[in-house]
């Protein structure tokens, strides 16, 4: 118990060490989550458009090239 308290106390510098680690983690996780979300949303939209195009007008794809 004592050692746990000492760990969080960080030799009296806990008020500086912990915010440095926690904010670094939060900022990097937030950026990762936003990038992940963006990439997945684009993939979903593309899949939907392609299946729409495939189901609706498969011939339109070929006809378009002329």
């Amino acid at each position: 118990m004592d050692s746990l308290a000492a760990f969080f106390n960080m030799g009296g510098y806990g008020a500086f060490v912990w915010p440095a680690f926690v904010t670094s983690g939060l900022v990097l996780i937030a950026l990762l989550a936003a990038s992940w979300h963006f990439a997945k949303a684009q993939e979903r939209t593309l899949a939907r458009l392609e299946s729409d195009a495939g189901a609706g007008a498969g011939a339109a794809e070929d006809g378009h090239e002329t």
Partner: protein, 246 residues
Amino acid sequence: MDAAGKMFLKHANPQRFLGLSAVVLPWAAGATVVLVTAGVYLALFASPPDYQQGETVRIMYVHVPAAWMAMFCYSIMAAASAAMLTWKHPLAAMVAKCTAPIGASFTFLALLTGSLWGKPMWDAWWVWDARLTSVLVLLFLYLGYIALHNAFDDPGRGSRAASVLALVGFVNVPIIKFSVDWWNTLHQPSSMVTAEGPAIHASMLAPLLVMAGAYTAYYVWVLLLRVRGEIIAVKIRALQMRQAGG
């Protein structure tokens, strides 16, 4: 063109990039998770306090990698911008654009963790010395780049204007690196590049290098995600225009 150049252009094709990045993505994600876990364990549990700075030295393990990545990302952004302006390569343009928010985040974290380290050790949250000021300028360059990108209705013009800013601002990178050698600063000189080798004991160098590896893997992971998103967004726009036209 030489073989290496042909090889590069073959893989620099956006369609090929989608396939290649799908293979690399899980590895980058796995490396990030493993290295962050090992790095945080070493940084918080398995490394000693410093003989002068005590436990605050642990802030180094999140501060220094963030500062390194801030400069590394800017160098990538500037190189990709130069490639984009020279060869008009769409993938180079996307790499530059997608690196900007990642580099800006690293720069912000370097400034924030540095401030949290400066208060207990120097007795100041912030000083206007050459190192701190030039890193603040780096953050403004990133933000200016992102703002310029979004300032034009024509994305091509925004991309070109931002690329020119990225190249001009690259002057700041060597200024950051050498500021502590060229001028009197409150910030200490580099511990890694000294005449006698790194001035960091091995037990502290290990967590620092592992965390640096973790931050690099994280950059690759997030960059690949963002570039994939951009490429797919371009395909979506092309499909929508085709559907609207047909």
